[in-house]
Symmetry: C2
Subunit: 149 residues, 2 copies
DNA sequence: CAAACTGAAACCAATATGATTACAGATAAG
DNA sequence: CTTATCTGTAATCATATTGGTTTCAGTTTG
């Protein structure tokens, strides 16, 4: 699976924390990738109405939705992410054997179902939830460190 | 995602249809891949107790479970398949920013949950079900062809 | 023991993924 | 109205992942 989804979620969380218009370069530094990739991903989020962009001097990206109303399904749909898929196909449509000619279609159906399942799960997680996970992970880490003393 | 899972499911369905000990070469021809890959996948299914192998002359693979009692979770567990995952990580653990340092762990958690979801779904589909899908797809195709006349 | 198979590893080729570079178009500051 | 700074987008390059090929030791049967 491509990691555009991670880039997008990370960027949105960062934008939510910054609260001000942020350039692709600053985002790239935080995400640890390059500005062009950030721009490619963010332009899709813009088309989906999740963020707004501003070109020119002092331009960049900013959120236009509340973190509690943005869910991860909106993001994966905006990017047309496929969580489960495979480009390699087993068998061959033209072989005179039901198994050889039909299995790849059946597997595609299976992958499609799994993908739907994932998308539905993503609908239940918001950016606010992700921020919550970040914070609780951070607290756990600090607690662990404390235990060492 | 790697396509070992497709190779395994395809092979098991074929074994179920053949009912006799089948060589890696015959399986490779049906799956459209090479015998070495078949052997690599099948040796894992053997360790999981799904198939039996026979070395030497007239050797090969055969099922040792009923198609209705083999589910796809058994197969993906045998292969240690990860349906949803990403090797690329956003951010960097060492950056002094909660988002940059913590997002990749959060995304890994998310991917892990999705993977569990997929594995649970796979538990509900048996090899017999897959064979059923194959047959119904085949029937649909024939019906479509009939409509054309 | 000879033939036909699996098991496993090393190596090669093709494909997919991310990085880099470049440039046109937009916008704000002066 | 010109310049600097930003996005949007595409082309190209580098690297990583994935699947294919080859090889050989070990097993089993005739």
């Amino acid at each position: 699976m491509t990691s555009e989804f991670a880039v997008a979620v990370h960027s949105v969380v960062y934008l939510n924390q910054r609260q001000i218009t942020t350039s692709s370069e600053e985002l790239a530094t935080n995400v640890c990738t390059n500005p062009a990739r950030i721009r490619k991903v963010m332009s899709k989020l813009k088309k989906a109405g999740i963020i707004e962009t501003k070109e020119g001097l002092e331009g960049g990206y900013h959120l236009i939705q509340e973190p509690s109303s943005i869910n991860l399904k909106q993001i994966c749909d905006a990017l047309e992410v496929s969580f489960v898929s495979s480009s390699w196909k087993s068998g061959d449509e033209n072989l005179p054997c039901m198994v050889a000619s039909g299995m790849s279609a059946v597997m595609d159906e299976v992958y499609g179902e799994l993908n739907e399942l994932c998308r539905n799960k993503m609908e239940q997680i918001t950016i606010k939830d992700v921020q919550g996970k970040l914070i609780s992970n951070r607290l756990n880490l600090e607690t662990m460190a404390g235990d060492d003393k």
